[in-house]
Amino acid sequence: MSSDPTSSGPTSPERILPEEAFNAGSRVGGDHVPGEVPPELAENTLRTELRSYIIGLALSIALTAASFLSIGSHLIYGPSIVMAVVVFGLAQVGIHLIFFLHLTTSPDNTNNALALAFGFLIVCMIVFGSIWIMYNMKHNVMAAVRADDVAGLSAEIIVALSPALRLTELT
């Protein structure tokens, strides 16, 4: 983390070779990769990193327990339990992204956060779009089946009345 920024000639190939080249990026471009400690926390990495994982684990356990306990719970209004579980799940995904993958909103993370936002958009479109469309289709198909029943009934009536119709036709 303590590489000299003045010596950052990124095109010279020998910069790849030394050991500290692994961390050179945190000061050269300032970019940040998910899953590693942000450079601004590098002063006391061990303590801050361990604290991050422990907070993440504790919050995850709490949210998981909330999800499982909400099934038979009377603390939550019955029909809204499904939505509560969805909210607990989304919150836990956020906890994992922040405390396990160390994703932040800093400018160093812009590229990672933008990619994540796009992925989230696609996931929402696929999951909620599918549920929405298929639910509507089921609704309409069932309505059509009912309409077909009505039509079948009217066809029977027509068949039953056909002698009379033919009579009227003949005369």
Binding site: I16, G35, T45, L50, I71, P107, D108, L116, I122
Partner: protein
């Protein structure tokens, strides 16, 4: 021009929003290629992050399939008859703890401690194996009571989604063993640490997918169906 260059360094405010950049000083624009090509660590990590997101998109289509087909049971058993939420809770605990110990392993790698790296990775792997063992025994139990993937569209969707996650965990375990061996044999070389960074991303992402499975497939499945 005597401006402290530290003020222009990336990290806090690389775009210098609302500040004039003094003449003669080239700021290091994050992500704009201003400092030349990004280091390999950034390229590798970002590329793998994009792979993980595309993997999540693939899983989302399986989630959508499950949600749409949850009532398509062809007279067969439904989530309420099949799922045992106590088993799911134990699986969740194992996978969550393995994600935590995977984080501890990356701390040990940061400290260059081979002993703690191997220990943390071993615990992570054992928790993963325990998770898989429970999942396979659950699959075997379902198939034994004639609720296999061929029974109904609902069960096909269930086995595809959860089985695909299990396959990912299996591959992750192979990768984990490889990382243990490579740290042991080759040490903390740059390319090995790049691989390990990708592995931690992969393993944490599997736990994120599992959050969707235990809430969406098991808990909500039992509630609504």
């Amino acid at each position: 021009v005597s401006v402290p260059t530290t003020a222009l360094r990336a990290g806090r405010d690389p775009y210098h929003l609302g500040h004039d950049v003094p003449a003669g000083i080239v700021p290091e624009y994050t992500g704009h290629g201003g400092g030349g090509p990004a280091p390999k660590r950034i390229v590798v990590g970002y590329g793998f992050w994009l792979f993980i997101l595309s993997d999540v998109v693939m899983f989302s289509s399986f989630f959508a399939t499950y949600a749409v087909l949850i009532d398509a049971r062809a007279g067969g058993p439904g989530p309420h008859d099949l799922f045992d939420l106590n088993t799911t809770a134990i699986e969740t605990a194992f996978l969550l703890l393995s994600s935590f110990t995977c984080g501890l392993a990356s701390m040990a790698v940061g400290q260059r401690s081979l002993f703690w790296t191997e220990i943390a990775l071993l615990v992570t792997g054992l928790l993963g194996v325990a998770f898989l063992a429970i999942e396979f025994s659950e699959f075997a139990r379902l198939i034994a009571r004639d609720a296999g993937p061929t029974r109904s569209a609902f069960l096909s969707a269930f086995f595809t989604l959860v089985g695909c996650h299990g396959a990912h965990v299996s591959v992750g375990l192979l990768w984990l063993g490889t990382m243990m061996a490579q740290f042991w044999a080759k040490g903390y070389r740059q390319n090995i640490r790049h691989r390990f960074l990708c592995f931690t991303l992969f393993w944490h992402a599997l736990d994120i997918i599992w959050i969707g499975i235990f809430s969406g497939v098991y808990i909500i499945g039992v509630i609504i169906a």
